[in-house]
């Protein structure tokens, strides 16, 4: 390829020599022109600098799915990525995750493809229908219902990014989406048969959205899994653990299995204004079931109240009329129950008439912003980290005491990946005197889920090593930090569980940002 060399980019490539069983890094400098893709660069290295560099590639037009690799921690197709678009002078290229290494950037894709053998990847209909050699009618509208899901190239990007796929029992985003693609196909009549291979593992998905975020073909795997679950819920083939959560929400309007009249116990020593005693305030403080009921998490709820007080904010909560926001419930596939919860909360929002809603949990935040029917209200909702970052920026809070801690920040998926709030939590942490903020290896968009989303926080049954939280804590331990900072009550629960499992509670702690903040006030 000709054209002017616009820059020289350094490629740091993770290598593996299977004959010597040796892991190492190689660094190369590659001249980049307009149009040079990462694959072109890899080919340039192989053909000019190092003939031993090994990677897969074929179509070089983003359709065969051969060349997926991790580039600066994000899985993508090398051939479909322009080097100039990455805006970097140095790139780290690594093999995909969750699959065994063969050599350099080549991983064994069989575990990924094995999952497709567990589902039916062809139309199911009575044999008679196939004997008639006629085309099956399908309207353009019917086609549209599943067309986007047919674009999956099976490149395994999603599988590499998936936190649930560390458990090989999980079919993975791509196979679960393929299954739903057939369910949604008007020509198919195999619904019941298709649901069976999913019932014991579909619950492992945490709805972290990594699959959808990184898919080169923009296939919405994350939502497809919810559709799969929704059908399984309808059929009633759900495990006991899932059933318990749904029944609790049905009965008590929270997943904690406790009566609503205990919801405000966290605030019993505080003077927190509560609906219906108060029907108007500047800020509606939406506490979240996990922070309201879980004794460990109540400190977080209290601290927020304390901070509101210090700031002189006119705030109130819905008290016993705050029902579960339904984020987990929707993502567990119980759409009807979610709608019931949403209807109630929306009615309260209308009665309460707040200017702004501040949530403690990214999950409440996400569902209010992005899920119908909440979404249609156009609510003015902030996650507490956004609210506090603003207050800090405006000089409204003073953090007096220094805090000498080395802390890694773990991006909650529903704050980061789903809502692109990466900076506000970091701004708060950086404004704490003495606190050393360390980035995790997998951070921001590449962050690795704690494993708590979509109800898994209450249904976790995987072996210890196959729990995302255990993997995440191990990653933090490598950094030598004394705490993992989070901004989500579910991350607190899962990561703390992992610390117990690993028996490292004396080495490392998990702290909500509010808990760290409290120590400095």
């Amino acid at each position: 390829m000709n054209g002017e060399v616009l820059k020289v980019v350094e490629f740091k490539i993770r290598r593996y020599d299977p004959d010597e069983k040796k892991h190492y890094m190689s660094t190369y400098k590659v001249p980049i022109r307009k149009g040079t893709t990462v694959l072109d660069a890899l080919n340039y290295i192989k053909e000019n600098l190092d003939g031993t560099l090994t990677f897969r590639h074929s179509c070089r037009m983003g359709i065969c799915g051969s060349c997926a690799v991790n580039i600066n921690g994000k899985p993508m197709l090398a051939c479909y990525t322009q080097v100039l678009d990455l805006n970097a002078d140095s790139l780290t290229v690594e093999p995909l995750s969750n699959m065994p290494l063969i050599k350099d950037l080549v991983v064994d894709i069989q575990p990924f493809f094995q999952n497709f053998r567990k589902i039916k990847t062809t139309l199911i209909k009575p044999a008679e229908a196939f004997r008639r050699e006629n085309e099956f009618p399908q309207s353009p509208e019917e086609l549209k219902k599943f067309w986007d899901l047919t674009l999956c190239t099976k490149c395994a990007v999603c599988y590499s990014a998936c936190p649930a796929a560390i458990d090989e029992k999980f079919l993975g985003p791509s196979a679960l989406t393929a299954n739903y693609r057939f369910i949604a196909d008007s020509r198919d009549e195999g619904l019941e048969e298709r649901l069976k291979p999913m019932t014991d593992n579909v619950w492992l998905c945490t709805s972290c959205n990594s699959c959808t975020l990184f898919c080169p073909k923009l296939v919405n795997c994350s939502d497809s899994v919810i559709e799969d679950r929704s059908l399984i819920v309808e059929m009633g083939a759900i495990p006991r653990t899932v059933k318990d959560v749904l029944e609790s929400v049905m009965k008590y309007h929270n997943p904690m299995g406790t009566h609503q009249n205990k919801r405000m116990e966290w605030a019993k020593d505080l003077n927190v204004k509560t609906f219906p005693n108060v029907t108007k305030a500047d800020v509606l403080y939406f506490v979240c079931c996990s922070t309201a009921y879980d004794i460990r998490n109540r400190e977080i709820a209290k601290t927020m109240a304390l901070v509101f007080g210090k700031l002189g904010v006119d705030y109130a909560t819905l008290g016993e009329e705050e029902w579960c926001c339904g984020d987990h419930i929707l993502r567990m596939g119980e759409k009807g129950l979610f709608e019931m919860l949403a209807e109630h909360n929306i009615e309260m929002f209308r009665k309460f008439n707040a200017d702004k809603i501040v949530t403690l949990s990214p999950h409440c935040y996400n569902t209010f912003k992005n899920d119908k029917p909440y979404k249609d209200l156009g609510l003015n909702v902030q996650h507490y980290t956004e609210f506090l970052a603003e207050a800090l920026e405006n000089g409204k809070i003073k953090l007096s005491k220094p805090l000498n801690r080395r802390v890694a920040y773990h991006d909650p998926c529903f704050l980061g990946k789903r809502n692109r709030i990466y900076d506000a939590p970091r701004q708060i942490l950086q404004s704490i005197n003495g606190l050393e903020l360390v980035e995790m290896k997998r951070t921001r968009e590449s962050s690795f889920c704690c494993g708590g989303g979509a109800g898994r926080v209450w249904t976790e049954e995987a072996e210890q090593e196959k729990r995302p939280c255990v993997n995440r804590v191990k990653e933090a331990l490598e950094l030598g930090v004394d705490a993992i900072a989070v901004a989500c009550p579910f991350c607190v629960t899962t990561l703390e569980d992992a610390m117990k499992v690993l028996d490292v509670e004396n080495k490392i702690a998990v702290k909500d940002i509010l808990e760290l903040l409290k120590e400095t006030l």
């Binding site: 390829m1 000709n2 299977p18 004959d19 307009k34 149009g35 893709t37 192989k46 000019n48 190092d50 003939g51 031993t52 090994t54 990677f55 897969r56 590639h57 074929s58 179509c59 070089r60 037009m61 983003g62 359709i63 065969c64 799915g65 051969s66 479909y80 322009q82 063969i102 050599k103 080549v106 064994d108 894709i109 069989q110 493809f113 497709f116 053998r117 039916k120 990847t121 062809t122 139309l123 196939f130 050699e133 006629n134 085309e135 099956f136 009618p137 399908q138 309207s139 353009p140 086609l143 599943f146 067309w147 047919t150 674009l151 190239t153 099976k154 057939f182 196909d185 020509r187 198919d188």
Partner: protein, 566 residues
Amino acid sequence: MEKYSHDIVIVGAGLAGLRAAVAAVEVNDKLDIAVISKLHPLRSHSVCAQGGTAAVMRDKDSFELHAWDTVKGADYLADQDVVEFFVQRAPREIVKMDHYGCPWSRTPDGKIDQRPFGGHSYPRACFAADMTGFHEMHALYGKATSYDKVKFYDEWFATSLLVENNTIVGLTAIDLKTGEMHAFQAKAVIIATGGHERIYEFTTFSHTTTGDGMAMAYRVGVPLEDMEFVQFHPTGLVPSGVLITEGARGEGGYLLNANGERFMKRYAPEKMELAPRDVVSRAEQTEILEGRAFTGPYGPYIALDLRHLGEEKINERLPLIRDVAIKLGGVDPVKEVIPIRPAAHYSMGGIKANIRTETPISGLYAAGECSCLSLHGANRLGTNSTAECLVFGAVAGEEAAKYVASKSFKEMPHEKIAAEEKRVFDEVLGSEGGESVPALRDEMRRLMNAKAWIYRKGDDLESALKEVRELKKRFKNIKVEDKGKAFNTGFTAALQLDFMLDLAEVTVVSALARTESRGAHSRLDYPKRDDEKWLVHTLAYYTTDGPKLEYQPVTITKWQPAARKY
């Protein structure tokens, strides 16, 4: 070395190979079938097929018309019995794909939709947006993997066919994961490894489609037929060569020269942009040679203009093209023209096989682009290739299944296997010369582009032949830098180049001998079609001194050669 045995071994897992596997198991579900591919099946080049698959589906169309379009498109070199059989079997394949789950684009009343394509006088291209091959592949793979009796050997590189007494007995292949060579014993082998256009520099082909099966068959004595007929696709994206489907013109796209002129009116006033590919590519090349092309950092180019189609139609009918143009060409076809020029795209020639896909070796079959039946003659019509893969992939599977029913496994030729091990590991991987494989490969590609391109001349071809032979000599002196066993892609690149050099030689020798212009083969020194002398198929046989050519008459059933105008 381990020995594997299967009733039928299929080499290549693109459309033809997968279709063969499904057809064979449907004929006899007791058969033990293996599919060997150097790539995972879904990485096969068939997924790059975009525009559609031709079939007569509606009353207003007819087999007669599809056959006539194909024969005329072929510049009368197609075997007409094959064409007539093909058009009749194509509709069944469309329905099969539908039954497997292919998401065909639909008409408002729920029927499979069809779009116009070059050289077809009826809109008969069934399509799944502009990812037809991709969707057919995923449908077929989904079906093929639903049979327990079809065993897949993904990422196994076949190196040679084993033939005894003019009968196939098996083949050798390297398991890329371990780097070990193993022998496969088989009663029948189906070659479905695709074309060889990676012998050219500017090509629509995947990096991995290197014509291995053609070369393997050639080396065991099967003639390669009509290899001089290479199709140049009019719209290869500049600079990568990535295919921009003819469907873009089928949907109404224009070709413009630097003066903004729809120049096709001077070359094919009636069919314009939808003339057959040989006609359009020659027109573009003439515009380039006569200085009416655009000039850019990556050489001269022609503009493919889709802007007047509007964003909605482009998104619905040509979504991949838009994405590819943005990601790889840096232009959004909704707002800008797409820079294109002709690119090597398809081999009308290939392993000589008859209407039942049988090669001259008993038990050895060939289907899809690697074969030459001859369905496409001197020029293939767009959308006839995916149709061919399906129709004749199925035929190959059915014929092989019937053949093996009465056959038993033959003794494996141990000396030949040992000789192949020596060739592959000692002479290729073990070679300690100074020549670089990528450098030799690039020299081959450049010279094929320069001297065996759209317009050809005797002296160019002679010099190309000399150069290819020089490269073959230099190949004996290569050095593969990577000496590792597992997944050694430097090693497979060397094996592929070895195959491609044979195929480049056959292409040039066949082109040099054919002193006429017909279909995609245009000789500036012999500009006229010569039916007196050249209404024949070229057969190139392997000898140690290079290909030996023989000729065979064309089968004509209904349509006598006539002038070809569009």
